[in-house]
Amino acid sequence: MNPITPIINGMKITFKHMFMKPVTLQYPTERPKVAERYRGLHGLKVSHSKAKCVACYLCPTVCPAKCIRVEAGEDANHDKFASVYEIDMLRCIFCGYCVEACPVDALKMTGEFELANYKRSDFLYTKERLLEK
């Protein structure tokens, strides 16, 4: 094969591509469409204006990264609830096992993916920060 033809063919291809719509996403101004089942930041589901979590300890048990810390408490109706619910986002591997393990469907994963922070301590997400809005 002569050496000129592939060069011309390549030039044709690049010229055609110049008129295609660029695939670039202008990120901070344009937002990506996150998949429905995307595993981002966790969210504690709310029912009757309090967290559904009953502090059964299944999520810290199943967690392969051991990043969830739960402490049980007793409320006025003598019901068990999570007085402490913390996830260390620096250790979390976003596997979603906690959501699968939850027997009362109290946990979910949101599409939130911008998890950067300025301080290490800010990566420890407390119950207040995890409660769904």
Binding site: T14, H17, M18, T24
Partner: protein, 354 residues
């Protein structure tokens, strides 16, 4: 005609300074916006956007880049040869700009009754009614473009670093081999024109609506000259002296701040010069329709042609990968030089019988 200095009218000096300023500023601006155009064009060819943030569609990007480079820390390696290290960027930059002195970028315009040829190193002799320019213009350009290689070799040597030295060595080997082929390929043009003056060469290509352009008579020479020039100014696909994948950044590895910017300005200024020279030699220079009636159209055609060739340079860069070193040498010595010699012989035979 008014005041005379050294036997030439005052207007001559004013026109000369004006031409120098206009051409220099124009080349500088083109260099600055060539970087932007390159990023934009290559971006779109790779289905990206290119710079978008600084100004409308990134139009202020060259200014932002310039300011950034200007305020960067100036680093001179402790083991470098300081004087050569400092002088190398200048040696690369100056020949890149001064080659523009002999390239005609327009016809004759008349300002206040004084006729000015639009070519820096030229003047219109009122007595004989002729334009006099450097009668060995092409030799001057070839000489200056080979001076540019000293800057790169010196930068490579003075940096006292393996990568820089490798880049410098490659640059010298590459430039010397391709200069031969480029020089031989344009000899065929001089055989047809019978002159080395760029002004006369442009004049010869003026008639017949583009069919007198030397690219029509010498397509092979035009192609070879353009490709060899790309190799001589270290553009992709022949950018071996700064091959990022192998040599970090080649000869400018140790350079930072404005000195680094100077090498890049030199590269882009060389690109402008080479494109302008190709236009002058093969694409009819500033010739185009209606230039006789409106002399101002000359520079417009010239700029349009130069920009088109620069676009081709960027297009090539977006398409082709870098050549391997042995392929480069093979192409230079075993393909282009024999082809150029054959072209000269064939031109000679045809010229003898016609």
């Amino acid at each position: 005609m008014g005041i005379e200095i050294l036997g030439l009218p005052l207007m001559y000096y004013i026109a000369m300074v004006a031409k120098v300023l206009v051409a220099f500023v124009f080349v500088l601006l083109t260099v600055a916006y060539a970087t932007y155009a390159e990023r934009k064009i290559i971006g779109h060819m790779q289905v990206r956007l290119g710079p978008m943030r600084t100004g409308w569609h990134g139009l202020l990007q060259p200014i932002a880049d310039g300011v950034k480079l200007f305020f960067k820390e100036e680093i001179i390696p402790a083991q470098a040869s300081t004087f050569a290290f400092l002088v190398a960027p200048l040696i690369a930059l100056i020949p890149a700009f001064i080659t523009f002195a002999v390239i005609p970028f327009g016809g004759i315009i008349e300002v206040a009754g004084y006729k000015i040829p639009l070519q820096i190193a030229a003047y219109y002799d009122t007595a004989s009614g002729q334009v006099f320019d450097v009668n060995v213009g092409v030799l001057y350009i070839l000489a200056m473009s080979s001076l540019g290689v000293y800057g790169i070799v010196l930068a490579g040597w003075a940096s006292n670093s393996k990568y820089s030295l490798m880049g410098g060595l490659r640059a010298s080997a590459q430039m010397i081999s391709y200069e031969l082929a480029a020089g031989l390929s344009i000899i065929a043009v001089f055989m047809l024109s019978g002159t080395l003056s760029l002004n006369k060469i442009v004049e010869l290509q003026s008639g017949w609506g583009g069919f007198e352009w030397f690219i029509v008579k010498q397509p092979l020479a035009a192609f070879m000259f353009f490709v060899c020039s790309l190799a001589e100014i270290n553009r992709t696909p022949f950018d071996l002296p700064e091959a990022e994948t192998e040599l970090v950044s080649g000869f400018c590895t140790e350079y930072s701040s404005m000195k680094y910017a100077m090498f890049f300005m030199a590269e882009y200024a060389n690109m402008v010069t080479v494109c302008a020279l190709t236009v002058t030699l093969f694409l009819g220079g500033w010739n185009g329709p209606l230039t006789a009636a409106m002399p101002i159209l000359g520079p417009v055609y010239f700029i349009a042609k130069v920009y088109f060739l620069m676009f081709v340079c960027m297009w090539i860069r977006a398409t082709l990968p870098r050549y391997r070193y042995d392929q480069l040498m093979h192409l230079g010595w075993k393909v282009f030089i024999p082809l150029a010699l054959v072209n000269i012989v064939v031109t000679g035979i045809i010229g003898y019988f016609i």
